[in-house]
Amino acid sequence: MIFIVIIFVVMMLAAAIAASIFKDLMSAVIASCLVSLIASILFYFLQAPDVAMAEAAIGAALVTAIFIIAIRRTKRHEE
């Protein structure tokens, strides 16, 4: 059990670092979406299903969509 959690935490850290490094903003947004998704799984493991649902619906779906709409209206690549 703790082993699975450690794997998820390492994946989350990797996604978070990737989100800050990527120059392509679309990839960065997808990476930050992955962070939210893994966070919601971790919330579920910590026996907080209410928070996990909110995190999955808002953090992973809606925030990502709003970021992508914003990128479409501006530039895709960081300078």
Binding site: D50, A57, I58, A61, L62, A65, I66, I69, R73
Partner: protein
């Protein structure tokens, strides 16, 4: 230079968080109020989900504040976007038949799932905020999949205002009937674990679900319109 300064700042913040977390005793006995919620919450509020009984009964007024914050954010966004000139409608390429049919098939299912979550907020995990977000994601799917379909802005506004009104009116009714405090649970509690139980909690959660769903759908509608 800037990188070094930001790294030092980051280290200070990390040290502060680590010091805070170290002082939290994990697994220690709960505080008095926490014990009260866990032991007495079910019988006092009639809600099987203790989180819901805290969010809507013991801390109902805070929830009203949360809903208000979301409302202000939606109003601010539409105020910012309304100052721009309306662009000429661009010709949108219609989506393919498979995408269109898939969206139309999934849309009512996602709506039902969101409604299920906020109607059963007092029994199972989830509630108005989560259900509302899921309903908004259904609208997002239609905006992405079948671009021709739009929800009328007026209906979204009417739904949002009516559900906000229901919240406040139910709270004031509790004040008038019980005479103790705002959002007093004045309706009969019913049998634990049945759908029609927990007094005013299901009514308020349904109102919050409609309000959050219409607000976030309105935000997405505004943003998609501009792009």
């Amino acid at each position: 230079m800037r990188k070094i300064v930001s790294l030092i700042l980051l280290a200070i913040v990390a040290l502060g968080i680590a010091l805070c977390v170290m002082n939290i005793p994990f697994g220690a006995p709960k505080t008095k109020v926490g014990n009260h919620y866990i032991n007495k919450g079910r019988e006092e509020t009639g809600a099987a989900n203790i989180v819901t009984s805290v969010v809507l009964n013991y801390r109902g007024f805070d929830t009203l504040g949360e809903v208000t914050v979301l409302f202000i954010a939606a109003v601010g966004l539409s105020a910012v976007l309304a100052t721009r000139k309306k662009k000429v409608e661009k010709e949108i390429e219609p989506s393919s038949m498979i995408l269109n049919t898939g969206c139309r098939f999934l849309f009512p299912l996602i709506l039902f799932f969101g409604a299920y979550i906020f109607v059963h907020g007092h029994l199972t995990p989830g509630g108005g905020f989560q259900g509302g977000a899921i309903i908004a994601s259904a609208f997002l799917l239609t905006y992405l999949g079948c671009r021709g379909r739009r929800v009328s802005e007026r209906r979204i506004k009417v739904t949002e205002s009516l559900s906000g009104l229901v919240f406040i009116v139910v709270g004031l009714l509790g004040l008038a009937v019980g005479g103790q405090y705002f959002l007093n649970n004045f309706l009969p509690k019913g049998i634990l674990l049945s759908l029609f139980s927990a007094g005013i909690i299901p009514i308020i959660y349904i109102a919050i679900g409609f309000k959050v769903g219409s607000e976030i759908a309105g935000i997405i509608d505004k943003l998609m319109e501009e792009s």
